[in-house]
Assembly symmetry: C2
Homo-oligomer: 152 residues x 2
DNA sequence: GGCCATGACTTGACGCTTCAAGTAGCGGCG
DNA sequence: CGCCGCTACTTGAAGCGTCAAGTCATGGCC
């Protein structure tokens, strides 16, 4: 069978380490400083940037890369904490809209600076602009090869 | 506060997508084709490459980036499936040794080709050797900045 | 207009991870 | 030689994600 060369294996293992440690670190910082997990942060962030701070569950699921079921559970918890509200779309009752509350917005506003600073210190500031650009491009190439059709 | 430029944000979001989808895809393929999760695969792989197919729980935890508790649960499940045995280190009863069984080795041998082929098709083969090398280097730089002292 | 298929969630059970307490072997110190 | 503390796990409960099975509104087809 077609094994990997040493150099390929080294690079791959570096990527594996990145995949395991970087999300972990991001999550730690958010949880410690703001009591939010990474996906929860993403949900609040996406809501805050949308027109009336409203988004459909399905759109949210898509942009946060979460399954609809996961998102439903997660938003229910956020709702319990008063950071988000849910209501059926008035125009079409099949859709559910998630709405960022003021409390949710404030929580996000409190979390964002520390989060961005953390991302900066781990990723942005340790690479040259060119290195960062290339990293993003390589990531895009890889992600584009992934078959995400098997979801739901 | 010091926000990110558009280019920085783009690259960062690409990295976020990589972190969420790549592990997911690897896991899917392993589970579907071999009934193993990514960490389970790593555990079997590490054991198979060590001298007498024996490793201490703590060493395994370190190389697989799992907490000792997680590893303990996970190895217990692997033991239940007959892929691994556990016994206290004869020389120092505080250590526990995990030992790959023949069945475990066969399971790994069955899983490896598909796994490698998948990694190849998603990562190795879509980047030039130079791009792959740079990706690994960037990953290393980032990982080296992560403070892992807060574990256990 | 009634029925049925479909799409968009929601729910509950199960599995895995984490977190906080345990347990247990050994080395050291009095 | 007996206790003490440390290290290396193990365990049980609680939280989160996934999977399969609901629910419920709508749109189309007769």
């Amino acid at each position: 069978m077609n094994w990997l060369t040493d150099a390929q294996l080294d690079s791959w293992l570096s990527v594996v380490r990145l995949m395991t440690w970087l999300p972990w670190s991001i999550d730690q910082q958010l949880r410690r400083d703001s009591g939010l997990g990474m996906v929860e942060y993403q949900v609040l962030a996406m809501l805050s940037e949308s027109p009336r701070r409203i988004m459909r569950m399905s759109s949210l699921a898509e942009v946060t890369n979460a399954s609809l079921s996961r998102l439903s559970h997660l938003v229910k918890r956020l709702e319990g904490r008063g950071l988000v509200r849910r209501e059926p779309d008035p125009a079409d009752g099949r859709f559910t809209n998630a709405i960022l509350t003021d409390k949710g917005f404030k929580t996000l506003a409190g979390a964002a600076p520390g989060h961005v600073a953390h991302v900066r210190s781990l990723v942005i500031d340790v690479l040259s602009p060119e290195q960062l650009r290339r990293l993003g491009l390589a990531a895009d190439r890889i992600v584009s090869r992934i078959d995400t059709s098997a979801i739901d």
